[in-house]
């Protein structure tokens, strides 16, 4: 899976330095990560309104902490994910927290409808949302955030070995839930069958 190149990281460091000199220059960092952080919060909380609040609070803290932020050669998103993870964890500890059934959008189809309509991306997102919390988090950070094991381990407060195990278990569960056909095989089947499912 893709990770950031050294050149990408250095370019991002320049964006951070620019934002530290002038807060108006924070916008490119925000635009780069807002979708990722919202998707992460949404898949963890299963609630769009809550995910929006977590995303807003994460970036508000980012702006507030900007003058004190020290670049350490890892993607800025690692820091944002840690803030978002802490905000979600804080809410999960509150009395009355209920883990909702995966529902990724008010107008979004359910998992069966997504499967029937051929919206594979929605089907996959539902399957990820239904994973146990730690597995879900590992998958989101690795494949959604494109972070490395050591960065994920730090965010989750786990060892790198534990992150590898969580990833393995999560993908094993997803293979079972989503079915064995690999993308290439499915595409070939689609072509043979004229696109009907």
């Amino acid at each position: 899976m893709a990770h950031r190149s050294e050149a990408d990281l250095l370019a991002e460091r320049d964006l951070i330095l620019a934002a530290q000199r002038d807060r108006a220059a924070f916008a490119p960092l925000y635009e780069r990560y807002v979708d990722q952080i919202f998707a992460y919060a949404l898949t963890l909380t299963q609630n769009r309104e809550h995910a929006e609040d977590v995303t807003a609070a994460t970036f508000a803290k980012a702006v507030e902490e900007l003058p004190r932020f020290e670049w350490r050669g890892v993607p800025y998103s690692a820091w944002l994910y840690r803030v978002a993870a802490n905000l979600v964890a804080r809410d999960r500890r509150r009395p009355g927290w209920i883990e909702l059934t995966p529902q990724l959008g008010d107008d979004a189809p359910g998992p069966e409808e997504a499967a029937l309509s051929g919206d594979r991306a929605a089907e996959v997102r539902f399957a990820v949302a239904a994973l146990p919390h730690d597995q879900r988090q590992a998958v989101l950070l690795r494949f959604g955030g494109e972070l490395r094991n050591r960065e994920i381990a730090e965010i989750m407060g786990r060892s790198e070995g534990a992150v590898k195990l969580l990833t393995f278990r999560a993908l094993t569960t997803l293979r079972r839930r989503l079915g064995a056909p690999l993308p290439a095989e499915r595409d070939a089947r689609r072509e043979e069958g004229g696109g009907d499912r």
């Binding site: 916008a27 807002v34 998707a39 508000a60 997102r125 494949f143 959604g144 393995f168």
Partner: protein
């Protein structure tokens, strides 16, 4: 299983494992690629994107922010009562101040 965990990690990191992939690891790599593609699809609606942009980068005054947030808060009955009371109080104070500015003679008369 430990071997498979390490082989999967090697494969995900782009390091070709010695002896190649097992069938299981190959399938898991395929699922991982599919998950990465699915998670790359943006899920923010236009309305959410706009609200977030205003909340984070809007740089508006507290009163602008309050007006923007009211429709959302209205969906939370426990919150809207308190905010409503505060808004009414602020509106009364604001009107009183404006009246004072618009009609200084009233202030003078009162004094």
């Amino acid at each position: 299983m430990i071997d498979d965990i390490e082989r999967l990690d090697d494969a995900l990191e782009g390091r070709p494992p010695i002896g190649g992939f097992s069938g299981t690891v190959g399938e898991l790599v395929g699922i991982a690629a599919e998950v990465a593609r699915a998670l790359a699809v943006p899920v923010l609606t236009d309305a959410e994107r706009e609200r977030l942009h205003h909340r984070v980068l809007g740089g508006r005054t507290w009163s602008d922010r309050l007006l923007h947030e009211l429709p959302r808060l209205a969906r939370r009955p426990t919150v809207v009562g308190g905010v409503g009371a505060a808004a009414v109080t602020l509106a009364v104070v604001g009107i009183a101040l404006l009246r004072g500015r618009s009609h200084p003679e009233l202030g003078g008369a009162a004094a």
